[in-house]
Every structure is written in structure tokens, then in C-alpha cells.
């Protein structure tokens, strides 16, 4: 496949900034409305016509790669196709209601939220689910706050959260945000939790162990029941990071593996669009014993209809309102569209795709058997350079140089939405880039809108707004 990304350029820049197309200064004159000293003097912003804006943003869109353009196998990101109809469902004007409406006037909204709470509880094997956390990391934070509230209610002051070294960076940051010390757990030589190291790490200070399963190498933690027993015997809780849940749908549930708390990344597993970085949603499921600690409000069904309520020992709020509503609607619609058979098939095809792709690569994959993702190594080639070269083949490269357990890692997750031909294209891009000359790798990419971008200059001389351009250049 040949590829050239759209590229609008002139002089020393690509598509001009809005501010370069127009910059209009208006005097703010609120005479008779507000006293002068309560208003600003002037405001300078671009003032463009609608046709100019349509062209501006359409051109920008063409200089942006997306999952509808081609494969996007970022490991642990689950970039699957986002069904079109879910956008229309979420845009229903009847659903555009304010969160302070009384319960009885928004039965439709509450009904959908209740339905999603139930769907997610079933899929994860959990007893109760909150939809409030607006992202995966917010879900982690919520889950850890629940663990903290649980221990505190028992008069049990614990100070540590155990996290495998290979875990997502958010795990560490979320635990720290909740005030815990992080105990980092090394992996064993198979790439899984080192049971002996875990045994040494667990103590009466252990509030929880956070685990991703399958882990970030795509490996299932086979000793999960033993791990669960060890943590629980010490009075700790087991937390499931749902980032890799797309591997397990219909085959294993965190609740059945002994996990007490989990978050779901609906923007991964349940196909809501990533929107260039967000919004996502990070619902949190818990077992019965922890349900009273969930954030407020929750939705329940009564004889009179759906109503909001505050759980008895609620941790309170983790979002100003109810979280990312539009995302939750899309997740509900996706789950209802696929049902049991579709969800189960999605995981089967995601795992098949990862295994097939790996079988076509010239790169070594040191750990297995893996599920929906694998960490290949580019060996003596720089993984970041190989990734840049892959861009020239019209595919998005995998996550690079992470997890650190694999040197020059290329963490690859093709998801279930790629067909064989697309995977073959992807394999070709991997293999061709991997085999290419040092010079080709260093000068790549050459088919993208912009060429290799100087990261050092961006960080050393931060220019974070158009007002800052021209400063000390």
C-alpha cells in the first residue's frame, strides 16, 4: 500500500493558525451593563466566517490519522472501530438534559444509566457499578478511595498499594494521589507476577494490589486465585485495571478471579471513540461488601421508577456531576448491539488477530502465550525509529519502549476490527521498517504531513500558544 498524508503548507509552516488567518481586536464596552472596572478592556481572537472555518478544520482533519483511516495497534489502548450509529444515539435531543433535573422528569436518562450499570456488573462479575469516573485513571483513583474508605471504616490504617513494575503509569499516580506509598513489584522470568516477591511485599500495610490481567505483555496471570488468596489473607483488597479487558469478554470475569474492585475503560473495551485523547469513561465495579462506599449518586430501580440515591458510606464525588454522559450512552449502545455473542466474538477475534500478526513478524516476541496484545522487540534497532518508519506505510505504529521488561519493546494490540489483509499490511510495515537502513530509520517519516519533529527543542523552549510564537526564537 502506498501512502501520502495530506499536507497543506506554505513558507515555513503547515496550515496557518487561526490567528494567522485573522486576528480581530474588539473593545469591550459594557456601558450601562457593567461598571468599567468589572470588565476587560479588549479581546483579541480570530474572527473568521463559517466557510473559512469549515475549510480550516477540514484541512486539519486531513492532517490527522485515525482508526477509520487505517490500523492503529497501540498496545493497551484498544483502538477499535467506533460504530457510527452510537454517535447518532448519543446526539438524541431528548437526552440533552441538565443533571439537576428532578428524577421523575428524566426517567429515560436514568433508565439508560441503570441499564449500563447492570450490563457492566454482569460483564465484570461485579455486584454494583458507578458510572461517574470520567476516565480510566479517574476510575483507578475512585477504586483506591473506596479501598481506603473500606479499611478506615474497619479502623484499619494501611499505607501501601502494591503495583507490578509493568503496570500502566496511571496506577502509580492514582495510588499516590490517594495518599498511598507505592510498592513496586518485579516480574518473574515468565513476565508474570513473581509470587515470592509478592509474598515479601505483602504486609499488614497492604491496602490493595492493583493488577492488569492479562498484563501489559498480554499474559494471563495464571496464579490469580493464589494471588487473590495471599492478598485477602493479609487483609488487603484486589484491584483490577480494566485496560486489557478486551481480551477476556465472556471467558473470564474479574469478579470470579477474586477481584474486589475494577474499572472499565469503556473507550477501549466498549468502542467509544477516543476523540484525540478523550473523553473516555472509567466506571468502577465493586463486590457487595464495598457497594456502600461507591460515589454518589447511584441509580436504582424502584416500583415508582428509577431514582438517584447516595450509598450509605459513599466516598462522595469524583466528578462535578455524573461523568461523561455522551460516552456512557455510546458504551451502552455498543454493548446492547453486540450482546453476549458479539462481545465474546470480539475477544476471540482480538486474540486471534494479535496471534496472527505476531506470527507474520520478523521481530521476536519474547513472552507468551499472549492474548490481545504482545510486546515484540526490535532488538538492536531503536523501537522509536522503527515506529517512525512504519508511519510511511500508512499504518500507526505500536506503543514503543514500554513495558520496560522488554528491551526496545513494540507493544502491539491490533484489536478485532482488522481483517487479514489489513494485518498483512501491518506485518509488512513492521518487517520492512525493521529491515530498513539506519539512514532510512533516522530520516523517517517522509510520507506524513510533518517530518520528524524536534522534541528537545519543544521542551527546552516551550511555545505553548500562538502568543508565544516569535518569542525568543
Amino acid at each position: 500500500m502506498n501512502f501520502d498524508q495530506a499536507r497543506f503548507s506554505r513558507d515555513d509552516h503547515y496550515e496557518p493558525l487561526l490567528s494567522e488567518k485573522d486576528s480581530t481586536t474588539v473593545e469591550v464596552d459594557a456601558d450601562g451593563v457593567l461598571p468599567d472596572d468589572l470588565t476587560r478592556d479588549e479581546l483579541t481572537l480570530p474572527g473568521l466566517s463559517e466557510p473559512q472555518l469549515a475549510r480550516h478544520y477540514t484541512r486539519l482533519s486531513q492532517m490527522n490519522y485515525s482508526v477509520e483511516l487505517g490500523p492503529y495497534p497501540l498496545g493497551s489502548c484498544t483502538m477499535k472501530y467506533n460504530p457510527s450509529f452510537t454517535e447518532d444515539v448519543a446526539a438524541d435531543p431528548n437526552a440533552a438534559v441538565h443533571p439537576d433535573r428532578s428524577d421523575r422528569t428524566i426517567q429515560g436518562t436514568l433508565g439508560l444509566l441503570h441499564g449500563l450499570q447492570e450490563q457492566l456488573a454482569e460483564i465484570g462479575g461485579m455486584d454494583a457499578v458507578t458510572l461517574q469516573p470520567p476516565a480510566g485513571a479517574a476510575g483507578e483513583f475512585t477504586g483506591i478511595l473506596i479501598a481506603k474508605a473500606y479499611h478506615e471504616a474497619r479502623g484499619d490504617d494501611r499505607s501501601e498499594i502494591i503495583i507490578p513494575a509493568s503496570a500502566h503509569g496511571t496506577n502509580f499516580a492514582s495510588a499516590a494521589l490517594a495518599g498511598y506509598d507505592v510498592v513496586e513489584l518485579p516480574s518473574d522470568e515468565d513476565g508474570r507476577v513473581d509470587i515470592e516477591a509478592l509474598d515479601a511485599a505483602i504486609s499488614e500495610e497492604t491496602a490493595a494490589l492493583m493488577l492488569t490481567n492479562p498484563n501489559t505483555l498480554g499474559l494471563f496471570e495464571r496464579d490469580i486465585l493464589e494471588i487473590s488468596e495471599m492478598v485477602h489473607d493479609a487483609g488487603g483488597l484486589l484491584y483490577y485495571d480494566g485496560a486489557n479487558f478486551n481480551a477476556l469478554l465472556g471467558r473470564a470475569r474479574p469478579g470470579d478471579m477474586g477481584f474486589d474492585i475494577m474499572h472499565y475503560n469503556v473507550h477501549k473495551t466498549f468502542a467509544t471513540p477516543h476523540g484525540g485523547g478523550g473523553p473516555g469513561a472509567g466506571p468502577v465495579g465493586v463486590v457487595d461488601e464495598l457497594a456502600d462506599y461507591l460515589p454518589s449518586p447511584m441509580v436504582r430501580e424502584t416500583a415508582a421508577g428509577y431514582e438517584l440515591f447516595e450509598p450509605e458510606s459513599s466516598i462522595g464525588k469524583v466528578h462535578g456531576f455524573g461523568g461523561n454522559w455522551l460516552v456512557l450512552v455510546k458504551a451502552y449502545a455498543y454493548i446492547a448491539r453486540l450482546g453476549d455473542s458479539g462481545l465474546s466474538d470480539a475477544s476471540a477475534k482480538a486474540v486471534l488477530n494479535a496471534n496472527y500478526l505476531a506470527s507474520q513478524l520478523d521481530l521476536e516476541v519474547p513472552y507468551g502465550p499472549f492474548h490481545h496484545e504482545f510486546a515484540a522487540t526490535s532488538g538492536d534497532r531503536d523501537a522509536a525509529d522503527v515506529a517512525k518508519r512504519m508511519l510511511d506505510y500508512g499504518v500507526h505504529p505500536p506503543t514503543t519502549k514500554w513495558p520496560e521488561l522488554v528491551s526496545q519493546a513494540m507493544l502491539t494490540e491490533p484489536t478485532e476490527v482488522e481483517d487479514k489483509a489489513s494485518l498483512d499490511d501491518l506485518a509488512h510495515a513492521f518487517n520492512a521498517a525493521y529491515a530498513d537502513s539506519d539512514e532510512a530509520l533516522e530520516t523517517a517519516p517522509t510520507k506524513t504531513s510533518a517530518r520528524r519533529i524536534d522534541q528537545v527543542s519543544a521542551a527546552r523552549n516551550p511555545r505553548l500558544s500562538w502568543q508565544a510564537l516569535g518569542d525568543d526564537e
Binding site: D12, H13, L18, S19, V33, R40, P46, Y57, S61, Y65, F85, A91, A96, H98, P99, T105, I106, G108, G111, L145, H168, G169, T170, F172, A173, A176, V182, I224, L225, R251, H274, G275, G276, G277, G316, K317, H319, G320, F321, A336, R337, D340, A346, V351, N353, S359, H371, H396, T399, E416, A450, R451, R452, I453, D454, A458, A459, L464, A468, L469
Partner: protein
């Protein structure tokens, strides 16, 4: 269900033909995809979720029917979630799949379009706040406020105390989120009283001390009051080596005093008032600050740089602050954010341009003033309760019980906030202004 790819069931979004699947299994060397799952028997799930697959058409109809159960009320609601008319251009362009279905820009060379749009969003926030650094999104105003307090505390590591002062009138969600975020840092929250709906300066002055790391004030407040003493509040904070954090929103900032000029060190608030529309509280948090706090900023930042052909190009930058590099020492745990909402907000702001944006903000003052005056003329009502300038919304005193009046208004097709037994709150913007006459008539009947 027909999956649409010749198979009777399975995911409609997994495109494998039977022949492809067979070839792939063969290449992997297994009989079935099932055998690829390395899951011990004792944790295998062999039950069912009980969720039936549904055709797209049937599903759209059933969800539409569900949403139709929402009563059609004209909302005069605000308190932290505000709606203005969103032009069709925003929906059309933001839904382009190149934007909507892209990921965080880890490979900037192939993601210049989104990066530039976010850079432009940051720049517009810089213009509105007068502060040189704006990140490209927080989840909402509540979490942005909490992140500001954590930033303030990090700057004051050696301080004798860790207190944040917030107004007595604060949206419940913002207070609740702040409590949860500060708990882990052993910080505490103090609230200062309001005087006629605005900051009671004397009382605040008594409360600010060397244990205070941040003073938070809002303009407009959750009750719609435009604060008149922002500079004085900032001075009180600075005299005690505390940060001054100002909460506002993207429309109000176009009209009210520029935050930098009143000494604000951090500006937080909601930007979703432009671009998103009413969406059950989904938000977009503003986070802007001074240059000297740059390395303490939470969340993603887009910066300009150069590419190998010396062309200006954009990239995520200063990522060593972030969780994927710094782990438990990151400035925040935020990863997935609200980038797509920021794109929409920028589009809406650019569509308005400075003229119409200032007009929109000016109307928020005059419409609130006029509506309050009309309600004040109704026997049994007093509005606005506070003798202040208001932005979009104001509090109404009711002689009769407020919950009963709100209920009667709902019966006539209107939603307003009930604050307590004798206070309602009403919010007017360009999307409900044409219903103001009917709202006044309804109030006349029920007050």
C-alpha cells in the same frame, strides 16, 4: 442477528470471513481461536451475561423510546453546567472521523491536525485569561479546581499548614471532588462566608494565614454573582504567600476582568459552556497558570517545535510531568482527558469570533438582569436576592414554599433549581431566552 459479514452471529465489527479465519488459524498453528486463551479452568467463565444482541435499527428505536421518557421541559438551569446554542458546524466538523476516532498524539508527525487545533484552543484560553500557560483539558471545573489546589500545595511543601479556602457558596460537586482529591495530600478545606452573595472580604482577611496555600474565588459564583473585589482577594492571598485561584467560565471570561490583571495565579472553570451543549453534566475543565508554574502543570500540553525540514510543527511536550513517565511522582494521574470537547469549544469560539462572543457574554448580564426584574414584579417573589450584578443566573426568594413552586413550574413545562425552602435559582441563556415570557407567565400563576 446477522453480523453483516456473512456470519450469523458474533461481532458485526469483526470483519473476518470464514476463509480468512481458517488461514489465520493455520498460520498460528491452532485449531480454534478458543485454544489461544491461556485461562486456567478454575477461573473460566462459562455463564452468560444475558444481554441479547440487537439489530442497529431496533436498538436505535429502543434507545430513542427510552429517551422519549424524559419529560420535555424548558430548562432554566445552570449552576456549573451551562448551555449556549452550538452551531451545526461544530457537530459536523468535530464528528469527522479523523478527529473523533484518533488517539492521543503520541506520533505527532501523523497527528498535526489535532495538535494544531489543541494548540489553538490553548491559545484562546491564554487570550481569555491573560495567563501564558493553558493546558489542553481537564475533565471538568471540579477536577481542575482540585488539581489547582494540589499544585498550590506542591509549591508550598515547607508550609506549616495545607489549607485551601473556598467560598461558602460552592457547587456541591466541586466541593465533593475537592475533598476527595485533597484527602490523600493531608490538605484541609476551609470555607469563608459570603456577604450579599459575594466574598466577605473582612471575614476572608481574618481566615487567610500562613497555613493557607490557596484562596479560591469564583466570578460568576455558582449563584450567578459577578465578584467585584477580585484584586483585593488576590492581594489577601499573596500577602500570605498563598496562590489565588479564580474560577470562571469561557463565556464570562470574554467580558469580565482579565484574570491576570486581578492577580490570578491559576484560572479554572468550565469551557464546555461553548461547544458541548446540555449533556447531563459532562464537562471540559479549564486550567491556565503562570509561566513559573509550568513544570507543575497537570495534564497535556501542546507546544510548537520544528520538523526535519525546519517547518513549524506541533507536539505534546513537557511529558516528563506526566504519569506515563513519572509514575507516582507525576503532577497528576490524568491520562485520557477531554481533548475532543476542547476541539469543539475552540470551533465554537472561532465561529463566534470576538464580537459575537462579547455580545453573548453581555447578553448573559442583561438577560439575567431583565428577567430578575420581571420576576421581582410578581407578588410573592423577590429577585435577585443579592443586590449585585449577575451573569446568566440569579437567586429568587419565594414567599410560598420553593419546592412546591418548582413542582408547579415543572407541571407547566419549566425546570428551575430549588436551593432551599424559599429560594429558587433561574438561569437564562440564548437557548431558553425565547421562553422567558412564558416562564414569567407561569411564575405569575404559581408564585
Amino acid at each position: 442477528m446477522t453480523a453483516g459479514n456473512g456470519r450469523r452471529d458474533g461481532s458485526p465489527y469483526a470483519p473476518h470471513t470464514d476463509a480468512d479465519e481458517a488461514a489465520m488459524l493455520d498460520a498460528v498453528g491452532v485449531e480454534s481461536a478458543e485454544s489461544l486463551f491461556d485461562i486456567p479452568e478454575d477461573v473460566r467463565f462459562d455463564g452468560e451475561f444475558g444481554i441479547d444482541a440487537t439489530d442497529e435499527r431496533d436498538l436505535r428505536e429502543s434507545i430513542a423510546n427510552l429517551f422519549a421518557r424524559n419529560e420535555e421541559l424548558t430548562e432554566f438551569l445552570g449552576r456549573g453546567h451551562h448551555a449556549h446554542y452550538v452551531p451545526a458546524l461544530v457537530d459536523d466538523l468535530s464528528r469527522r472521523s479523523e478527529f473523533l476516532t484518533s488517539y492521543t498524539q503520541y506520533q505527532p508527525e501523523i497527528a498535526q491536525g489535532f495538535l494544531q487545533a489543541l494548540f489553538e484552543y490553548q491559545s484562546m484560553l491564554v487570550e481569555l485569561t491573560g495567563l501564558p500557560v493553558a493546558n489542553c483539558s481537564m475533565y471538568d471545573a471540579a477536577t481542575a479546581l482540585a488539581e489547582a489546589a494540589l499544585l498550590a500545595d506542591r509549591l508550598r511543601r515547607g508550609a506549616s499548614g495545607h489549607r485551601v479556602l473556598v467560598p461558602e457558596h460552592l457547587q456541591e460537586g466541586r466541593l465533593g471532588v475537592l475533598e476527595n482529591y485533597l484527602d490523600g495530600a493531608d490538605m484541609e478545606i476551609g470555607d469563608y462566608p459570603m456577604d450579599d452573595g459575594a466574598v466577605d472580604l473582612d471575614a476572608l482577611s481574618d481566615l487567610v494565614d500562613d497555613e493557607t496555600v490557596m484562596v479560591y474565588a469564583e466570578s460568576p459564583t455558582v449563584r450567578g454573582v459577578i465578584e467585584e473585589n477580585l484584586s483585593e482577594i488576590g492581594d489577601l492571598a499573596h500577602e500570605n504567600d498563598a496562590l489565588f485561584c479564580l474560577g470562571s467560565d469561557v463565556v464570562a471570561l470574554a467580558l469580565l476582568e482579565e484574570p491576570a490583571s486581578v492577580g490570578a495565579d491559576v484560572v479554572v472553570g468550565e469551557a464546555d459552556a461553548l461547544g458541548l451543549g446540555t449533556s447531563y453534566g459532562m464537562g471540559l475543565g479549564i486550567f491556565a497558570t503562570r509561566e513559573k508554574f509550568l513544570r507543575q502543570v497537570p495534564g497535556r500540553l501542546v507546544g510548537a517545535s520544528e520538523d526535519a525540514e525546519d517547518m513549524r510543527a506541533f507536539t505534546l511536550t513537557l511529558q516528563t510531568r506526566e504519569q506515563h513517565i513519572r509514575k507516582e511522582r507525576a503532577t497528576s494521574n490524568i491520562c485520557t482527558n477531554q481533548a475532543w470537547v476542547a476541539l469543539r469549544t475552540a470551533m465554537h469560539m472561532a465561529w463566534l469570533g470576538p464580537d459575537r462572543l462579547v455580545d453573548l457574554a453581555t447578553r448573559a448580564v442583561t438577560d439575567a438582569r431583565d428577567l430578575a426584574a420581571r420576576l421581582d414584579d410578581i407578588s410573592g417573589l423577590r429577585a435577585p436576592v443579592y443586590d449585585r450584578h449577575h451573569f446568566r443566573e440569579f437567586v429568587v426568594h419565594t414567599d410560598q414554599p420553593a419546592p412546591a413552586i418548582a413542582n408547579d413550574l415543572a407541571g407547566r413545562g419549566f425546570a428551575v433549581h430549588t436551593l432551599d425552602d424559599h429560594h429558587l435559582q433561574v438561569c437564562i441563556t440564548d437557548v431558553n431566552a425565547d421562553a422567558a415570557d412564558r416562564l414569567v407567565a407561569a411564575f405569575e400563576e404559581v408564585a
